[in-house]
């Protein structure tokens, strides 16, 4: 399937999904759907660096919260429409992503991951001590109750996140089949061999970290408007990192559909658990699933399906 056709289908699926969601019996569905969509973006963005290029980033919360706090800072300065906030947040987080890319010059494997985790801690400390965006007290955002045409504001946020999710998946899918995607995969497999094959590994790693960071920042930009109250502890919550890593792991890391499946699966379970049992159960569910998948299906759901298909073919 060509790239144009994929984009068309992705947009169509998004539009149909939005049409169906308008039939939801109450606002809660948008509230929950927004979170699942946000995780589709985060998981897909994480996978561009973690799955395609092989650099495990534990600092998801840093990029996500940076996006959210860009919005808070701009809200205090001059309220802007959310799509504009997302663009600005994308640039801010993208620049930080570029900086993280330079870490890969000296740090590989677990050492890179530890550095990203440290970066998130540093960032949280900086934000906690920055009074302008509320410091440790947090910041309140007043959002309009209604928007034209769509009605409720949450429907508007839901639509925006849906569009971002479609764009993110489109980007991930285009990368996968491109020269860039092959280059990323060669870095994941063997960086020295990639370099010997003519792949400019540093430049490609910088592209991956910048793009991944920018998309995470964009996912975070509408957050203050969604929660209306944001403090560093919730913005930098570890669960963002854990979920964004667990979702591609559970779905499958080598292609675009893995993080999508993982986010839909895990995100939906978490939302269901939140309303039926308790929200504290979320991380426990993630942990158990993660252990289960690492043991039973190390290549995720996509890997399981691929293996089943291969077996079925072998039998014939």
């Amino acid at each position: 399937m060509g790239a144009k056709r994929f984009w068309l289908i992705a947009i169509l699926v998004g539009a149909v999904f939005f049409g169906l969601s308008l039939m939801a019996p109450n606002q809660y569905y948008f509230q929950a759907g927004y979170v699942v969509l946000q995780y589709i973006v985060l998981a897909t963005a994480w996978n561009i660096l973690g799955g395609y290029t092989g650099y495990v980033n534990f600092g998801v919360a840093a990029f996500f919260a940076l996006g959210a706090y860009s919005s808070v800072a701009l809200y205090k300065l001059a309220p802007l429409p959310i799509p504009v906030l997302m663009l600005i947040a994308g640039i801010v987080s993208g620049v930080v992503g570029l900086g993280m890319g330079y870490l890969t010059l000296r740090l590989r494997g677990a050492f890179f991951s530890i550095a990203t985790l440290a970066m998130a801690v540093v960032m949280q400390t900086l934000i906690t001590n920055w009074d302008y965006v509320g410091g440790s007290r947090g910041a309140y955002i007043l959002r309009p109750a209604q928007v034209p045409i769509l009605g409720n504001y949450i429907v508007y946020l839901f639509l925006i996140m849906l569009i971002l999710a479609v764009i993110t998946i489109g980007i991930a899918r285009s990368i996968e089949r491109s020269r860039l995607g092959f280059g990323f995969a060669s870095i994941r497999d063997d960086e020295q061999a990639a370099e010997a094959a003519g792949v400019p590994t540093l430049r490609l790693k910088l592209v991956a970290t910048t793009l991944s960071g920018a998309l995470m920042g964009m996912a975070g930009a509408p957050l203050p408007y969604y929660v209306t109250y944001l403090d560093p502890a919730s913005g930098f919550s570890l669960s963002y990192a854990v979920n964004s890593i667990a979702m591609p792991l559970i779905g499958g890391m080598t292609n675009w559909i893995g993080p999508l499946i993982g986010a839909l699966f895990l995100g939906t379970i978490q939302q269901l658990a939140t309303v039926t049992i308790s929200s504290a159960l979320n991380l426990l569910i993630v942990g158990l699933l993660l252990v289960g998948f690492v043991v039973i299906a190390p290549n995720g759901i996509v890997g399981l399906v691929e293996r089943a298909v291969e077996r079925a073919r072998g039998r014939r």
């Binding site: 995969a185 497999d189 063997d190 370099e195 010997a196 094959a197 792949v199």
Partner: protein
């Protein structure tokens, strides 16, 4: 004829250890140079300095009329210097065809006027795998390969970059007698196609039958350089290998 590769006074230290010291070497186009030396004599370090994996501290490397010093490895590959690794480093998650596709996409396709269309790329992958006798396994993963096939894949990947110079770093280590002949035949074919070959090898039978010139490194210094028969009779070389 001007030298294809010209190394002058190349030196490399690891902390207090001198790995390479004042290496001078010129390789003419089309030559088959064997590079030998005991373990730890600096052969692989020299290869790494030539290819840009390591930076040499002193001296310089000229290749095809251009100064290579400071250029990263991928740019040297693009300029026509390809290498195979001592321990094969295949791209494990990809099919053999895709292993070949990477250098095609990142060397041939970035050079001016040699861009390949998708169908041509597929054709070129098959062609290269056919050349090394792996065409049948184009869709398989590297994990399905034997040692000798892995070496062949390594060479095919180096060839995909359409190099002027191929540096084969112990492409035959650990292979059986007939497998060594296989790889030697392959290297000869490549050389006849006009590619200059530097062969780093421990297997003397292979080096002697392939090279038309022999360079000997001992403890980071070049101690002999000349016709294979003469070099192996050189008293310094005999001393380094067998002792007094």
């Amino acid at each position: 004829m001007a030298a294809l590769l010209e190394v002058t006074d190349l030196g490399k230290h690891f902390g207090g250890f001198t790995a390479l010291d004042g290496i001078n070497l010129a390789v003419a186009p089309g030559e088959r140079v064997g590079l030998i030396g005991p373990n730890g004599s600096g052969k692989s370090t020299l290869v790494n300095c030539l290819c840009g994996t390591l930076r040499n501290e002193t001296g310089s490397v000229r290749f095809d009329g251009k100064v290579m010093d400071g250029l990263p490895a991928h740019q040297r590959t693009r300029l026509g210097m390809a290498r195979s690794f001592q321990l094969p480093k295949p791209f494990v998650s990809m099919s053999l065809a895709d292993n070949i596709r990477i250098p095609l996409l990142y060397t041939v396709n970035v050079r001016r006027g040699t861009h390949l269309a998708p169908a041509e790329l597929d054709g070129r992958c098959d062609e290269l795998l056919h050349l090394v006798g792996l065409a049948e396994k184009a869709r398989r993963r590297p994990r399905d390969l034997t040692q000798v096939e892995m070496r062949k894949l390594e060479l095919a990947r180096a060839m995909a970059a359409e190099p002027k110079l191929l540096i084969a770093d112990e492409a035959m280590a650990g292979l059986s007698h007939s497998e060594v002949d296989d790889i030697l035949a392959l290297l000869s074919v490549l050389n006849e196609r006009g590619i200059t070959v530097i062969l780093i090898e421990h297997i003397m039978r292979a080096v002697m039958s392939f090279s038309n010139r022999l360079v000997v490194l001992v403890a980071g210094r070049k101690i002999a350089d000349g016709l294979p028969q003469e070099v192996t009779r050189n008293p310094d070389v005999v001393k380094a290998y067998i002792g007094e």
